[in-house]
């Protein structure tokens, strides 16, 4: 079942001489439960692509459908709700709120939605992420790996249609990196979670079901490594 469709996506920064085409007519689709890795050198436009998929940036042209919904046909208000419910974003630099503790950071999207927290799911996630002992800690009391696990927890909390991770291990050592990748992988299997990861770490890319390579804003390769396990 198709969960994400991207059509002819373009993104232009600046104007005139300084114009940069970060994305130049990108199109592809993603099946539900798929684990997709997007690779490419620095400045190839992969982060831009991910941000547009996550609804935190706006494309210059083209369309994005998530769950049959034209994402950028929505107004700001609907887009916020869309981000809150349908997308989980994981950044290289975690982007946690420093004044909120682990639990609050993880449940932020649910709480902002005004819904009650599913304690069962929270506890399960805390357990899987190994943060049970740390649930009342503030981000600056955690290691980098732990902080990234909190941001993964935040992304998964709402069981979104798609989880987008932007270099999730870029700031971590190899041991922590491996743990994070395993966590993502297992969420993909366990919750049939659709997962799109940007990376330039080949080891991570090779664990995906499918790899898309981007260069200068265009797809240069789209390769299925294995059938989706989810």
């Amino acid at each position: 079942m198709e969960i994400l469709r991207i059509e002819n996506l373009t993104k232009v920064y600046g104007s005139g001489e300084n114009q940069v085409r970060a994305l130049d007519g990108v199109s592809f689709t993603v099946e539900k439960g798929e684990f997709l890795a997007i690779i490419g050198p620095s400045g190839s436009g992969k982060s831009t692509l991910l941000h547009i998929l996550g609804g935190v940036d706006r494309p210059t042209g083209g369309k994005v459908w998530l769950d049959g919904q034209d994402v950028y046909a929505q107004d700001e208000e609907q887009l916020a709700v869309f981000r809150r419910r349908q997308v989980g974003l994981i950044y290289q630099f975690y982007n946690l709120i420093p004044v909120l503790n682990v639990e609050e950071n993880m449940t932020l999207p649910v709480l902002m939605d005004g819904r009650p927290v599913n304690e069962e799911r929270l506890n399960e996630l805390l357990g899987i992420l190994g943060l049970n002992e740390r649930r009342k800690h503030l981000p600056n009391q955690l290691s980098g790996g732990q902080q990234q696990r909190v941001s993964i927890g935040r992304a998964l909390m709402n069981a979104p249609s798609v989880v987008l991770a932007d270099e999730p291990t870029g700031n971590l050592d190899s041991r922590n990196s491996q743990e994070i990748v395993e966590l993502l992988r297992s969420s993909n299997v366990r919750y049939k979670q659709t997962l799109i990861v940007i990376t330039h770490d080949e080891n991570i890319a090779l664990q995906a079901d499918r790899i898309i390579a981007i260069e200068d804003g265009r797809i240069t390769r789209d390769e299925r490594i294995r059938e989706a396990r989810a």
């Binding site: 935190v56 940036d57 208000e77 981000r83 809150r84 709120i97 420093p98 909120l100 902002m112």
Partner: protein
């Protein structure tokens, strides 16, 4: 609880310094607004209470009503409390005064219920009358009429109606017609009454007892009266007095309590009122501007700091509304703490100030008055102050929050808004690099790159400079205006004069009084008023301009009134020495020469038809020495000069009539002489100008000074100025006055000619002191606001650049280098702040000068000491704040700061 509220509260707690400074800002703003509003309200109430105590609380009265008309008036819409008195009748009690055209009657009024609440009846002896047989007499009766009654005396008088010979009733507004008046008046239907005098009251002010009234008002109670009724009443809405008066035309003769009307907001159109309103408007503007900018700035900086966090919140699905809600919630939390505290601080501050100034306020009103200055709270005003502050805070919070909402989440997270630049924009001059090295160059680039962020600091500096200097100008011009309108203090505390034989040895009198009062600084003088004739070429342009519109001026000279003073020789020598002149020039009896105090206090027509006070020079200092003249009709034994006339052939004539016993003209015979023969011309050679206004009249009046010993030489051997004036300076005037009084009594001289001038001018001085205290309080508060403002912006700004500094340090910037970079940044801040602040401050000063100029003529000036203080403080505060912030930064571990994402 809503997660965003949790987030907001935790953020506030996490940034304690910023939160505290913001709350302090709100407290200061609130305190200042409260203090201004409550202070003004308390002052206003004080004036109203003192008038009510002094003259009674009545606002409108009508005289000459029938009892029925009085009842109707008392029940008219809008009338509050009311009371009546009924005329019991007039009695001729001092016929000898009648011949002089003075008050000859006693007017007995019978007081109705509740009149004590509306009129100020102050007993000086005895008690209030309780029945028709008892009477209360006014204090001026025994003083001026020679009719002396004491408490317990019995008074018998024939009371009747005051009527013209045609039988028409005459009101208290008609002065006694007298024997030669337009009509003959009598007391009709007199009826003998006997009263017991039960007390004396301090007679009413002119508002109740008009000057024209030919009767002393005596009060009784319970008498029916002759039907002529007066109503005194208050209005339910004092602010709408004028409207009420227009809507209800008078039936009898109406009077309005003018002081109360004025204090209740129905002002006349005078230039002082214009100035007062102008000053208040400027004050309110300054306070509002300072407060709004402080609150606005602290929010603007906190939002840019939190833009990133808002970005994260948005990326996980926070809506615009939620972000806005969070910022407003923050504003609300801060207000919830700041406003109540500010309210209390403001009330306490102004309350303490007013209490401390009580003595000063007391001396502004009648001595012995029971009205005391106190803080009167006006709940509605407090509520308005709180609302103003809350709305300011909310708006200040909401406006910068829009920025955080506008940009896309990813831009917020990256904070890319601030760093769109081209290399050209951050180009730095070579000079900078040379003077301040690499670090200076970095600082300069920082400044250019991040103009937006720096703007808040520069703006807060600019506002601080402008507020401080404007506030100083405001206070300076206000003090000037108050002094100017009240007149300058001549510094003379005690005054005495001798006449007749006592004048023979002024030195002896001076020595006696100086010794008694323990004062060294005393002198004496003879003086008189002279219409000087000044040759046009010696007249100063300022005087010419003033005289241009005077139709009475002649062609070949200008006439200018002033004082002619013969000053004690020793004091005269002092005066010469103080002004760098040689005293010897002035003591030649063959050629006596005068010193001139060249300044006159004048009144000009103001812009709004009111009066403006100012000063003008009379003689052109370039044309001194010069000669002035004056003319006077010659003295003629047994005759007195009456008037000038013009003969048939156009010649000016002087008329004389026979001299009566008291110097009045008597008889029918008129002697006429041509002016050229009968006029005595006196010449005055002016030898020098003195700069310092001194010795009484000279402070305000054009004055010629001669040595005392030159009097006969100037005026001629027969001249007599009738009295010699003594003046003394005495720091403790009240004590000196008493001692001098004793000494005079001992020497068998009268004490009636001794005056405590200082006590009289005390109230003016106190007014200036009150203005000064308020001014300084205001400047201090405004400065605190400005200080908080600058501290808040700069320290937050530095904290925001933690990572940047850590990066620079990681590539080898040492502490010294860091300091140099900071110093250069401070310099840029200071210069930019002053570049905008000083011109704006001068502009405000100009506006204030214009406002002050509507009541008081004053040259435009800039308060330079304040400007210097402002410039010094700007750099001091900027550097101190930088030091504080960078000291905090130094505690940072470089790597942690680099890694730390939670900033």
């Amino acid at each position: 609880m809503n997660i965003l509220c949790v987030f907001t509260r935790k953020s506030l707690l996490a940034n304690r310094t910023r939160t505290v400074v913001t709350i302090i800002g709100i407290i200061l703003s609130m305190a200042l607004i409260t203090a201004v509003i409550e202070g003004a309200y308390s002052g206003h109430q004080f004036l109203i209470r003192s008038v009510e105590e002094e003259e009674g609380a009545w606002m409108v009265s009508e005289t000459g009503l029938t009892p029925e008309e009085a009842e109707t008036l008392r029940h008219t819409d809008g009338v509050g409390k009311s009371a009546v008195w009924n005329e019991a009748g007039w009695a001729m009690i001092a016929p000898e005064r009648a011949e002089r055209g003075d008050k000859p009657y006693m007017l007995v009024e019978s007081m109705g219920e509740g009149i004590e609440d509306l009129l100020a009846i102050r007993l000086t002896a005895g008690r209030m009358p309780e029945n028709p047989g008892e009477i209360l007499l006014p204090s001026n009766l025994s003083l001026t009429s020679g009719v002396d009654y004491r408490e317990g005396d019995t008074l018998t008088a024939a009371l009747g109606r005051r009527v013209t010979d045609a039988g028409e009733t005459v009101s208290i507004f008609e002065p006694f017609a007298g024997p030669s008046g337009e009509f003959e008046e009598t007391v009709a239907d007199p009826e003998e009454r006997t009263y017991t005098v039960v007390g004396i009251y301090e007679h009413f002010s002119w508002e109740v007892d008009p000057y024209e009234n030919p009767g002393f008002i005596a009060l009784t109670r319970g008498e029916e009266g002759n039907g002529n009724t007066t109503v005194f009443c208050t209005l339910k809405h004092p602010g709408r007095t004028v409207k009420w008066l227009d809507a209800h035309p008078p039936v009898g003769v109406r009077r309005v309590h003018s002081d109360l009307k004025k204090f209740n907001g129905s002002f006349g159109n005078s230039s002082m009122t214009t100035a007062l309103y102008g000053f208040t408007a400027v004050l309110v503007f300054l306070v509002a501007f300072g407060s709004v900018s402080l609150i606005y700035n602290s929010f603007s900086i906190s939002v840019s700091e939190r833009t990133r966090q808002f970005g994260i919140l948005k990326s996980v699905g926070a809506t615009k509304k939620q972000i806005r809600g969070s910022v407003l919630y923050e504003a609300f939390l801060l207000s919830a703490v700041g406003i109540p505290v500010g309210l209390v601080v403001g009330c306490a501050g102004i309350g303490i100030t007013l209490t401390c100034l009580r003595g000063a306020f007391d001396s502004m009103i009648r001595p012995g008055s029971e009205t005391r200055m106190k803080l009167v709270l006006h709940p509605a005003a407090l509520l308005i102050a709180a609302l103003v502050c809350l709305v300011t805070t909310l708006i200040s919070a909401a406006v910068p929050a829009r920025r955080a909402i506008r940009v896309s989440p990813i831009d917020s997270i990256r904070q890319t808004e601030d760093v769109k630049l081209r290399a050209k924009e951050v180009k730095t001059g070579r000079l900078t690099r040379k003077l301040f090295g690499f670090e200076g160059m970095m600082a300069s680039k920082n400044f250019k790159r991040n103009r937006k962020r720096y703007r808040s600091t520069v703006v807060s500096l600019f506002l601080s400079v402008m507020l401080f200097i404007s506030a100083s100008s405001f206070c300076s011009y206000l003090t000037g205006a108050v002094t100017g309108v009240a007149g300058e203090d001549d510094g003379m505390d005690i005054r005495y004069y001798t006449a007749g034989d006592e004048r023979d040895d002024p030195e002896k009198t001076l020595a006696m009084l100086s010794a008694a009062g323990n004062t060294e600084d005393g002198t004496y003088m003879d003086n008189t008023y002279v219409e000087y004739r000044i040759p046009p070429e010696a007249t100063h342009p300022e005087a010419k301009e003033l005289l241009a519109s005077d139709p009475g001026q002649e062609e070949d000279f200008y006439t200018w009134g002033g004082s002619l003073t013969f000053l004690r020789d020793e004091s005269f020598r002092d005066l010469c020495r103080k002004n760098g002149l040689d005293p010897a020039d002035y003591f030649d009896p063959d050629h006596p020469k005068a010193l001139v105090s060249n300044r006159s206090r004048i009144m000009r027509e103001g812009r709004n038809g009111g009066v403006r006070y100012g000063y003008a020079l009379t003689l052109d200092p370039e044309k001194i020495p010069c000669t002035l003249t004056s003319v006077a009709p010659m003295e003629m034994e047994g005759y007195v000069f009456t008037e000038e006339s013009v003969s048939e052939n156009g010649e000016r004539m002087l008329n004389y009539m026979a001299r009566g016993e008291r110097g009045e003209a008597v008889g029918e015979e008129i002697l006429t002489f041509p002016a050229s023969e009968a006029e005595v011309v006196t010449e005055y050679d002016v030898g020098g100008v003195i700069g310092i206004p001194t010795y009484g009249t000279a402070a305000d009046q054009f004055t010629l000074f001669y040595p005392f010993s030159m009097e006969k030489a100037v005026l001629g051997p027969d001249a007599d100025l009738y009295q010699t004036n003594f003046v003394f300076r005495a720091p403790n005037h009240a004590e000196a006055f008493e001692d001098m009084e004793d000494a005079l009594t001992e020497a068998g001289m009268t004490t009636a000619r001794l005056w405590d001038e200082a006590a009289r001018s005390e109230s003016n001085r106190m007014l200036v002191r009150v203005v000064n205290v308020f001014s300084y309080g205001f400047i201090i508060l405004i400065s605190l606001i400005a200080l908080a403002n600058v501290f808040n912006t700069i320290s937050t700004n530095i904290m925001l650049r933690r990572r940047e500094f850590a990066m620079l340090r990681s590539i080898g910037l040492g502490n010294r280098g860091f300091r140099r970079m900071m110093n250069y940044e401070c310099l840029i801040y200071g210069m930019k702040g002053l570049m905008w602040g000083l011109p704006a401050a001068f502009l405000m000063t100009w506006v204030i000068w214009r406002v002050a100029g509507s009541a008081f003529e004053t040259g435009f000036y800039v308060p330079w000491p304040s400007v210097i203080i402002a410039v010094g403080s700007v750099f001091a505060v900027v550097f101190a704040t930088m030091l504080y912030a960078s000291a905090k930064l130094r505690e940072d571990n470089t790597v942690d700061a680099l890694k730390n994402e939670n900033l």
